[in-house]
């Protein structure tokens, strides 16, 4: 059942695809082995909200049939996990919230449909911060996810279930969503690769909205090559999402093997100042030196407004969330308070009981910044600053191909350490938020360890330059072994 001696769970998508192709094992065998592993490991990790055993085995059997019939799709029989923010027909979609604990979507998100059409086998739905609001996975109604590198630590968030599952070798790939760093930060904290594409690159249809102008679907894998394989399937225009962009999808997988000779790497001074753990800074600088050894050149770039990213984000994102989450009113779906005496009580209690503290905090912040008399001072001002930040990036990308820096200011932190201090928690995303505000693609690649915890290198590129990010990450991984490191208990 094993290929070349290596356990199936330890193999990348590329290796598994080759094994399936050669007939070393079947999709059903692969799914069974990973489902068994999930059954053992997840009691501790809590990376899953739902494990879809029956659906996975049926999909795997179909994949085997398709292969036998010569109709294998690009991801035929390959196991993946969906963040529980993507609607899946017939399977519960909770968004990490009590509000949707009973919600079964009557339709598939475009991302879910595309991956299914490519033959992927979905093992389950991953745990996440409630409505993707959080950086530690502690705001989930279903309890925190634990970091496979140290179970006392957070795997990051909001896509923490996806990052923990991929790091623990429960699946080679998991979808995620990134509004302010929710793919890249958990990838950094678990030693995985996480890519957030350009805003509009992947359809948002069927992805439960947090902040519509910032949300973007992406993927967490262990290798840049697998990320390229997944993104090639997920990307593309969707007529059901007006903000998706009709721009050709390049052959990501075909492009990654090209050299990065001559690649211009921008370094932003503010990314290496006081807020950054010095040991993390060292790992990141070493990674940039590796890129230089591969032929890249570095340039210092000035981004005068980048320090305003976090405050800008925490006006724009809550404003949009306060409106997006209004539909959860207990009337048509989701949690409904029992025995409400009137409409107001139905609203107040359904929402009061259904939402957790962080979600309520953001709804209230967002409601405040949109209110008459405050709109201009907060929301409008934030939108103006957002343009300034986007302009900073635009100017920078006139001179450089990617901007490199740390993904997160610290390695993984202990569960419980920051949950009572929202501002400290929000600062986790200080380096990643800029890409969301400007709609740019970003990737986090494992680049070493600090105190036995993984550290991520963050790369941002111009709009639709995912190819550059994937190529740079792939070439870096060809010359480093960080992504091969596996948490001790999951080897």
């Amino acid at each position: 059942m094993s290929s070349g001696g290596e356990q199936l769970y330890a193999q990348s998508m590329a290796e598994l695809a080759a094994g399936l192709e050669q007939g070393d094992f079947t999709s059903v065998e692969l799914a069974e082995s990973l489902l068994a592993r999930i059954g053992e490991a997840d009691a501790k990790l809590n990376a899953f909200i739902t494990v879809t055993v029956d659906e996975a085995l049926a999909a795997a059997a179909n994949a085997d049939k398709a292969r036998a019939a010569g109709k294998a799709g690009p991801l035929n029989g390959l196991p993946i996990i969906h963040k529980d923010i993507f609607c899946t027909r017939g399977v519960k979609t909770t968004c990490g919230s009590r509000m949707l604990d009973n919600f079964v979507a009557p339709y598939d998100a475009t991302v879910v449909a595309k991956l299914a059409a490519a033959g992927a086998v979905v093992l389950g739905k991953s745990n996440m911060d409630e409505f993707a609001m959080g950086s530690s996975n502690e705001t989930s109604y279903f309890g925190p996810v634990r970091n496979p590198w140290n179970l006392e630590y957070s795997p990051g968030g909001s896509s923490g279930g996806s990052s923990a599952a991929v790091a623990a070798r429960l699946a080679p790939a998991a979808t995620g969503t990134d509004t302010g760093g929710s793919i890249r930060q958990p990838a950094a904290l678990t030693g995985t690769v996480g890519i957030k594409p350009t805003y509009g690159r992947v359809s948002r249809y069927g992805m439960i909205a947090f902040a519509s102008s910032l949300d973007q679907a992406g993927v967490i894998t262990r290798t840049a090559e697998d990320a390229a394989r997944m993104l090639g399937v997920m990307a593309g225009f969707d007529e059901r999402d007006s903000t998706s962009i009709d721009h050709p999808v390049p052959d990501y997988l075909g492009g990654i093997s090209q050299s990065i000779e001559g690649l211009r790497v921008g370094i932003v001074r503010q990314h290496f100042d006081d807020g950054l753990d010095p040991k993390c800074g060292e790992r990141v600088k070493e990674a940039i030196a590796t890129l230089e050894s591969l032929g890249a050149t570095t340039v210092e770039v000035d981004m005068p407004n980048i320090d305003l990213s976090v405050p800008t984000y925490y006006v724009v994102a809550p404003a949009e969330c306060s409106s997006n989450l209004s539909r959860f009113d207990g009337v048509r779906f989701g949690h409904r308070a029992e025995d409400a005496d009137d409409l107001l009580e139905l609203y107040c209690r359904s929402r009061g009981e259904g939402f957790g503290d962080e979600v309520k905090r953001r709804i209230m912040t967002g409601t405040y910044v949109l209110s008459a008399g405050y709109y201009d001072a907060y929301y409008l001002k934030a939108q103006q600053v957002r343009h300034l930040i986007a302009d900073d990036f635009k100017k920078a990308f006139a001179d450089v191909d990617v901007i490199a820096g740390p993904t997160s200011p610290t390695p993984a932190f202990r569960l419980g350490d920051k949950i009572d201090d929202p501002i400290t928690m929000y600062l986790n995303d200080i380096y990643t938020i800029g890409a969301n505000l400007a709609g740019l693609p970003g990737i986090s690649v494992p680049c070493g360890f600090v105190d036995d915890l993984p550290v991520g290198l963050h790369l941002v590129a111009a709009h639709f330059a995912e190819e550059t990010l994937l190529r740079c990450a792939y070439q870096y991984q060809q010359h480093t072994d960080w992504h091969k490191a596996c948490p001790e208990d999951y080897q």
């Binding site: 993507f86 609607c87 979609t93 968004c95 949707l100 919600f103 979507a105 009557p106 339709y107 998100a109 948002r204 249809y205 069927g206 992805m207 439960i208 909205a209 902040a211 519509s212 102008s213 007529e239 059901r240 999402d241 007006s242 903000t243 404003a319 949009e320 306060s322 409106s323 989450l325 209004s326 539909r327 959860f328 009113d329 009337v331 048509r332 779906f333 989701g334 409409l343 609203y347 409601t367 949109l370 209110s371 008459a372 709109y375 929301y379």
Partner: protein
């Protein structure tokens, strides 16, 4: 004293439902009257994860309207979210347009009480989605929600406060009603709520520049209610002020059963809608070329058509106005006029008179007329060529309306052909003269008015079928002998 002293200021917000087949942001049908919640898809239900996609047809329709009222069609307009909680508002916000509407700075003209033309400014017209309906009847302790209407496209047309009376408000609303139906962008059906308005009403002493405090009367869905509600509200405000009170800014509802308005909520209770641009939708961008193309395709509008009818058909201006109040009636007239050699004014008289009367009597729209334009023209040709008189034509028309065939068939079967044979008419005239020697003497003595009596007698003798002109002539000839 009140009427002379007080000046009334009215502005209308008209909601016209756009006649698209599918909803403004989803593919669900907009047809009226289906079983509750059978025409609401996941987008209309506001399900988690769904997204709106703009129906391009509404942009076309709004552009047509903008051009028809001489407005600016914005090269860039933006959809915004109007946030409030209500069970029939599935997303917790209504997608509308706020700061940047698709149409601005329009105008139209109405005729005021003195018969003068008056310009009414149109501040803006913006696109938005309708909400669903709450249903309370027959549901013990519960409220039902029907979301069939949710997501139906509306064009909200906001006037300047240029209207000075309930009559002007109705004239303006009628004009908008005519325009949207001419353009084919709304069926204007007021019973089904496809065309309704809110009226902002205030009063101020003559000569005062500052506007009085206004009240907004919501959801008026007939021209009659608009007039009555505004008149009630004007009276109420004037009485209130004259009794030493003050008008408060508030929303009021018109109760048509009691013919009064009553307070719904005050300004203090009004919502803060927290408008902001909808991040799920791109700005609507309209090129100058697109606007030009739509302009080329615009149908002839009521004012232009009315003027053309006067010039081309030599119609009386009032008749031209009546005929052009509806595009379907105008088209009927033109089709009939083209199919007969009878004078267009005669065609107009019949369309406005007997045909409209028959339609009203049977509760039919012109499209369902039992006498087609061509059939009417056929009958009018028979008047024109003296086969029948205008009076006989009424009988012929009624028979045609009752399905007895075309004019020629009816004339034939009923023997209504006019008598134009001079010898037959002379015989009848001779008989009448012989039978009425007294009247003949009086006539000859100078009592000219008696000619009517003689004509009447001859017509009676010929069962109305003698040609009246000929009868007249023969009578005059014989009596002057």
């Amino acid at each position: 004293m009140a009427a002379a002293y007080w000046e009334v200021v009215i502005g209308l917000e008209i909601h016209a439902q756009l006649a698209t087949r599918s909803k403004i942001f989803s593919g669900a049908s907009t047809a009226y009257g289906a079983e509750p919640n059978t025409q609401a898809c996941l987008v209309d239900l506001g399900y988690p994860g769904v997204l709106p996609v703009l129906n391009e047809e509404v942009v076309h329709m709004a552009t047509m309207f903008g051009l028809a009222v001489n407005a600016t069609v914005a090269p860039r307009s933006v959809f915004a979210r109007k946030n409030y909680f209500y069970p029939d508002l599935p997303k917790g916000y209504q997608i509308s347009q706020f700061e940047l509407p698709i149409v601005e700075h329009g105008e139209l003209h109405i005729v005021d009480a003195d018969g003068n033309e008056k310009r009414i400014g149109i501040t803006r017209a913006h696109l938005e989605e309708d909400a669903g309906k709450s249903i309370h009847e027959g549901l013990d302790r519960y409220s039902g929600i029907d979301l069939n209407r949710a997501g139906t496209p509306l064009l909200e047309i906001v006037s300047e406060p240029d209207l000075s009376s309930a009559k002007e408000a109705v004239a303006y609303m009628r004009k908008i009603h005519t325009i949207v139906r001419y353009l084919g962008i709304s069926d204007g059906n007021m019973q089904e709520g496809s065309f309704r308005c809110d009226a902002n009403v205030s009063v101020r002493p003559q000569g005062q520049e500052a506007l009085g405090t206004r009240a907004e009367i919501k959801n008026l869905n007939s021209f009659r209610f608009v007039e009555r509600a505004i008149n009630f509200e004007i009276e109420r405000q004037i009485e209130l002020i004259e009794d030493g009170g003050e008008v408060v800014q508030e929303t009021r509802l018109y109760d048509s059963d009691k013919d009064e308005t009553r307070s719904m909520r005050s300004k203090e209770e009004s919502h803060d809608y927290r408008y902001f641009p909808d991040p799920d939708l791109l700005p609507v961008e309209i090129s100058a070329e697109y606007i030009e193309t739509v302009r080329q395709q615009l149908p002839e509008l009521p004012d232009a058509k009315q003027q053309r009818f006067v010039e081309q058909y030599d119609l009386k201006p009032d008749d031209a106005a009546l005929l052009t109040a509806s595009r379907a009636i105008a088209d009927f007239f033109e089709e009939a006029a083209a199919a007969t050699e009878a004078k267009p004014q005669l065609v107009a008289n019949w369309v406005i008179g007997d045909l409209s009367g028959a339609l009203n009597r049977d509760g039919l729209e012109i499209g369902d007329s039992k006498v087609s334009a061509v059939a009417l023209a056929g009958m009018l040709t028979r008047i024109h060529d003296n086969t029948i008189s205008g009076k006989i034509a009424k009988q012929v028309f009624e028979a045609m309306w009752d399905g007895e065939g075309d004019a020629d068939a009816v004339i034939e079967s009923k023997g209504l052909k006019q008598i134009t044979d001079n010898s037959a008419i002379e015989a009848a005239v001779d008989a009448v003269i012989a039978a009425n020697p007294g009247q003949v003497s009086e006539y000859k003595a100078g009592k000219d008015k008696l000619i009517g009596f003689f004509v009447g007698q001859v017509m009676k003798a010929t069962k109305g079928q003698a040609n009246p002109g000929q009868v007249n002539q023969v009578l005059k000839d014989k009596l002057s002998d």
